[in-house]
């Protein structure tokens, strides 16, 4: 309670009055562009081309470049080979993955991830051991893993990421670059070659095989 009744109201009104004559700070967007922190890059959004196909080739370059590993790609890669995690809920799912947890300093094991992996990780552990957990020998590790499983299971890739201390995006991004790696069990029937394999076959058919 103030000593003079009504003083509070007078003070409040005087503030209102002063503010009333001060210059306005509301930005008249879009006439006036907003001031944006220098490192703000907007929200990540994949673009579509004029035919309505995703422009993203799932090359993983953005995921590899991102220093805090907040980007991970989904979709099908440029060779139409592999459907990776996709969709909004996955965005949050990514944050709970082992590598993200590890980088954030938490050691919480992800029960969902352990439960989900159905492959025997003992094989890849032995391969990692033989290769000294050396990320410089990644291609060798990937080749041995593919030889052991017949393909590169996601769980094994994650184990390699964990075991070599390499980001998952680096491991997947590297593996997806080389044609000899596959991310699904080999087909049991002989299918027609597709994608790059077909183009190479066309080239050899036109030019002739080495003889």
């Amino acid at each position: 309670m103030s000593l003079i009744p009504g003083l509070g109201i007078v003070r409040g009104m005087s503030l209102t009055l002063r503010r009333f004559f001060q210059p306005k700070v509301t930005h008249l967007y879009p006439e006036m562009p907003a001031e944006i922190p220098p490192k703000f890059r907007g929200r990540l959004q994949l673009l579509y081309d004029e035919h309505g196909t995703l422009k993203c080739e799932t090359c993983f370059q953005c995921a590899q470049a991102c220093p805090i590993e907040c980007i991970d790609m989904g979709g099908v890669d440029s060779k139409g080979r592999y459907a990776v995690h996709w969709g909004a809920s996955e965005t949050y799912g990514e944050r709970r993955e082992e590598s993200a947890l590890r980088r954030s300093g938490r050691t919480v094991p992800d029960a969902a991830y352990e439960h989900w992996s159905s492959v025997d990780l003992g094989l890849v552990d032995a391969i990692l051991h033989d290769a000294d957990h050396d990320p410089k020998r990644l291609l060798e590790i990937l080749a041995a893993t593919q030889a052991a499983y017949g393909y590169l299971p996601v769980a094994a890739l994650k184990r390699i990421s964990f075991g070599t201390g390499t980001w998952y995006a680096m491991v997947y991004g590297t593996a997806s670059y080389y044609d000899n790696f596959r991310f699904q069990p080999p087909a049991t029937t002989d299918g027609a070659a597709s994608g790059r394999g077909q183009v190479e076959a066309d080239y050899l058919a036109a030019i002739g095989r080495p003889n």
Partner: protein
């Protein structure tokens, strides 16, 4: 089974040597035939600087496609201060239609090991990697056996010829991408990374494998370096053309036959093609340089096969592939196929690479499908120029060659295809291309 073409007896064969019945992995037989004489000379009488001087005097150019002077690379690598230097022999053989380098590794493993050792001696390197396509299992097996034998005999290993210098040579199988043939991509793969090229400069000779100075050299270049030290720079200069001395391996596909041959640089294309059999009818076109090669008309058959000459006419040595097409081949279909191959193999790192090459492919597809846009001819020229100007690695630049060489030499065919085919389709509007602008007319009849 690779068929070696017979070349005239007067042509020297520094690469393949005399065809002998001896097992190429037999070290004693190889030493008797002169293997490691060049290394002995380098280690015992020539200092590293002397080796570089000898290579420079020979005028040796890289056989990997670009024809870069080898001595320049070695000099830079030797002069760059570093705790470690590497020699990488590029035996990948990117072009799937060419087996020249694999054949050379199978036939002359000691020549390659000697060349690697000489390069290592010249730049002061203690570890070398020979990268081989993983599917070339016979070449890998022979190289590994040869390295073991050479190490045992003290030519390489802990103490190279008693000089106190160490040299470990390792064979590394690589596979999975055409781009692995490109030097910076190969280095990335050897580091266990995604195979995408690096910005140059710095060139690998300054900053290469694991950021150390690295000499990346084609297999043939290294075998020739060993020959030069053995026989002398003057003997090498006597072969081939003055600007590009020596021989090179080519994979020839003529209309009458095909195979691999060792030819002196500067040999006319016609003579090389005739090694694979004579054919009365002139080919419709020649494809020189592999998937990203130039498509040349038969009138250019007398062009000497050498680096500068081929570049001047819009082709390149590239993978060493020389193909003669049949008399009624469709050059535009061929150009489309090649562009599709190259666009599919582009690594995706940069805009000209990821998008530029794909747009080139789309233009070619539209033209062949009879649905060209009126702007396509101009777009092709502009886009190609932009790609060449902004490319990160040579692959994008070379990807423009098939289409631009067709533009240059087969303009009538291209113009015919640029005329839309809609005329005969009743009920459709006719679109005529006139001076680059599009006008529509009412359907006739």
């Amino acid at each position: 089974m690779t068929s070696l073409l017979k070349t005239p007896a007067a042509w020297p064969r520094p690469l393949l040597g005399k065809a002998s019945a001896a097992d190429p992995v037999d070290l004693d037989a190889a030493v008797k035939a002169g293997a490691f004489d060049g290394l002995k000379k380098a280690v015992r009488t020539l200092a590293p600087a002397g080796v570089v001087a000898e290579i420079r005097a020979s005028g040796l150019r890289g056989r990997g496609g670009a024809g870069f002077p080898t001595a320049d690379k070695w000099q830079v690598a030797a002069a760059t201060p570093a705790d470690r230097r590497y020699v990488v022999a590029n035996g990948y053989g990117a072009d799937p239609a060419v087996r020249t380098d694999a054949l050379l590794m199978e036939m002359n493993p000691y020549g390659l090991i000697e060349g690697v050792a000489i390069a290592a001696w010249a730049i002061g390197s203690d570890s070398a990697i020979i990268a081989v396509r993983a599917t070339e299992t016979e070449a890998i097996r022979r190289l590994e056996a040869a390295i073991g034998a050479a190490e045992e005999a003290g030519f390489i290993g802990a103490d190279v010829l008693g000089s106190g210098r160490e040299l470990m040579v390792e064979v590394r199988p690589v596979q999975g991408a055409y781009m692995l043939g490109e030097e910076t991509v190969l280095l990335k793969a050897l580091e266990g990374k995604r195979g995408q090229p690096e910005q140059r400069p710095p060139h690998p000779a300054e900053r290469g494998l694991f950021s150390r100075p690295t000499v990346v050299q084609n297999i043939q270049t290294l075998v020739l370096a060993a020959w030069i030290l053995r026989e002398g720079a003057a003997a090498f200069r006597a072969i081939g053309s003055p600007d590009a001395p020596g021989t090179i391996l080519v994979q020839v596909r003529g209309t009458a036959g095909s195979g691999i041959a060792e030819v002196p640089l500067g040999t006319p294309l016609r003579v090389i093609l005739e090694l694979a059999g004579k054919n009365a009818a002139a080919p419709r076109a020649l494809l020189v340089g592999g998937p990203s090669g130039g498509i040349l008309p038969a009138e250019l058959l007398d062009t000497p096969y050498s680096f500068a000459e081929l570049r001047a006419i819009g082709a390149h040595v590239g993978s060493g592939s020389i193909v003669a097409t049949g008399t009624n081949a469709d050059v535009l279909e061929l150009a489309e196929l090649l562009t599709r191959f190259c666009a599919g193999e582009a690594c995706g790192k940069t805009i000209p690479c990821r998008i530029g090459t794909r747009r080139l492919e789309e233009i070619a597809t539209r033209i062949n499908a009879g649905t060209p846009r009126p702007t396509d001819a101009d777009l092709l020229v502009e886009l190609s120029a932009d790609i060449v100007a902004s490319a990160l690695c040579d692959h994008e630049r070379l990807t423009t060659l098939p289409l631009s060489s067709v533009m240059r030499y087969f303009r009538p065919e291209l113009d015919a295809k640029l005329q839309p085919v809609a005329e005969h389709t009743a009920g459709r509007q006719r679109i005529a291309v006139a001076d680059g602008e599009r006008r529509t007319e009412a359907p006739t009849a």
